[in-house]
């Protein structure tokens, strides 16, 4: 996994899946006010990231952990070329920033491979959100990526178990 060194240039956007790289690039070009408005816009669309009625998935992981205010569900579908599609369900208590990140990740990681998803570094978060919005009480902005990766690992483990 690539990690940004504090004293070096930020990682190139090519280190992210292309759709995510485009979103990062968009946000990095925005002034602070527009960044907030764009985050709100993404948050407003988070409900569309939830599973549709009748939709089926290769893996579903719905739970509420001790360190989170509400239930988050990760739904993973793996295509024939091992490209992944995610749906995410969020409980009503989830913070706006987390909703925005959900929407961003569902779009940004769509059609990536499982391996690409697992290699996505978390350093894109401050590049999107900016320094002012990431603080002690908004660490859950990283949580959705953690859960998405966890779902991918669980899928791979299940695959290996089935093959073995």
């Amino acid at each position: 996994m690539n990690k940004a060194c504090p004293d070096s240039e930020p990682p190139a956007s090519s280190e992210y899946p292309p759709k995510l790289a485009a979103i990062v690039s968009l946000f990095e070009g925005l002034p602070e006010d527009e960044k907030r408005e764009t985050l709100i816009s993404y948050a407003d669309q988070a409900a569309r990231c939830a599973p549709a009625s009748g939709e089926t998935f290769d893996l579903e992981d719905v739970r509420k952990v001790e360190e989170c205010t509400d239930t988050v569900g990760i739904f993973l579908k793996v295509g024939s070329s091992r490209q992944v599609h995610f749906r995410v369900s969020l409980g009503p208590q989830v913070q706006i920033l987390t909703k925005a990140m959900t929407s961003i990740l569902c779009r940004g990681l769509d059609s990536s491979t499982i391996e690409q998803v697992l290699e996505v570094p978390a350093d894109f978060v401050p590049r999107i959100v900016g320094g002012q919005l990431v603080r002690v009480r908004s660490q859950t902005v990283y949580y959705v990526l953690t859960r998405i990766k966890s779902a991918c690992r669980a899928f791979l483990n299940r695959e290996r178990a089935a093959a073995g």
């Binding site: 907030r36 948050a43 407003d44 706006i96």
Partner: protein
């Protein structure tokens, strides 16, 4: 203690009052939340936003902003020393009480809380807007000093309080108090190496003071909690703490304004300081 009325009943205003008077001259409604983008998704018409982190905290040192910075903040929001600031927010007004306490730290005394906070306003189906108000800048004098001595406690003072057997109120969850967990329930770890509580502190979780809808309990109920059950006396010096000072601001507000205890201080360094500091005494008993 008068069990029929709050000590300062005017400090609490209803959602209805804000709906009718929020835009009156001399009134400034202020939203302060934990959810950093919540205000932007919709707020009470005319309300300005004060971000507890970027507006009230020093960006470098763990402390509050300088008197100069506070004056600039107020000026930007069209607040004068005569302005009545009505605070509200999420989490049953945690951060609204925190912001109110910081305003008091700089000597701004015209303060109120909208009872029930943001959730009550929304539950009542009242109007929200995304439009941000435009406030003409005002003149706000720079306070000569912060009132740290009067309403704020530091680690050495909390330690002295503990050693002297004076009242310390731990407003965190029971699990945090006992040291079973080192983070707030349903929150990520905020980085403390040791769990437990300050020796001699009594556990009175902040939530004890509010109803399900986030409004404050009645005078009689609050008196039972703090004066009867906890044994707090009016002539005592009291210190309240939590993890970073926001829940204890809520309790500070209850004790100071609703119950009228004259000498209450908020130890804002709280457990993230105490639990990381070398050789501070810790208790894990019930």
């Amino acid at each position: 203690m008068n069990q029929n009325a709050y000590a300062n009943p005017d400090v609490l205003v209803s959602t209805d009052w804000v709906a009718h008077h929020g835009s009156d001259p001399g009134i400034r409604v202020i939203e302060s939340n934990e959810d950093v983008l919540l205000y932007d998704t919709g707020h009470i018409p005319g309300a300005v936003h004060i971000d507890w982190h970027t507006d009230l905290n020093d960006p470098l040192v763990r402390d509050y902003v300088s008197p100069e910075a506070f004056a600039r903040l107020c000026s930007r929001h069209g607040i004068t020393p005569e302005t009545t600031c009505v605070f509200y927010g999420d989490k049953a007004n945690w951060w609204a009480c925190y912001a109110l306490w910081v305003f008091r730290l700089f000597g701004h005394t015209n303060v109120k809380i909208m009872n029930g906070g943001r959730d009550k306003w929304i539950a009542e189906g009242r109007e929200l807007t995304r439009q941000k108000p435009s406030c003409p800048p005002s003149q706000y004098p720079v306070a000569p000093r912060r009132l740290d001595d009067e309403i704020r406690a530091f680690a050495d003072e909390a330690l002295a309080q503990s050693k002297a057997g004076k009242p310390l109120i731990d407003v965190r969850s029971p699990g945090e108090y006992k040291g079973v967990i080192t983070h707030m329930p349903e929150y990520p770890q905020e980085g403390v190496l040791r769990g437990g509580h300050i020796p001699g502190a009594k556990s009175v979780p902040w939530k004890t003071a509010v109803n399900e809808d986030g409004t404050f309990k009645s005078p009689g109920e609050l008196a039972k909690i703090y004066s009867e059950n906890c044994g707090l006396l009016k002539d005592q010096e009291i210190i309240a703490y939590c993890r970073i000072g926001e829940r204890s601001s809520h309790t500070w507000f209850v004790l100071t304004y609703l119950l009228g205890y004259p000498s209450v201080r908020n130890y804002d360094g709280s457990w993230t300081e105490w639990g990381n500091r070398v050789r501070m005494p810790i208790d894990r008993s019930d």
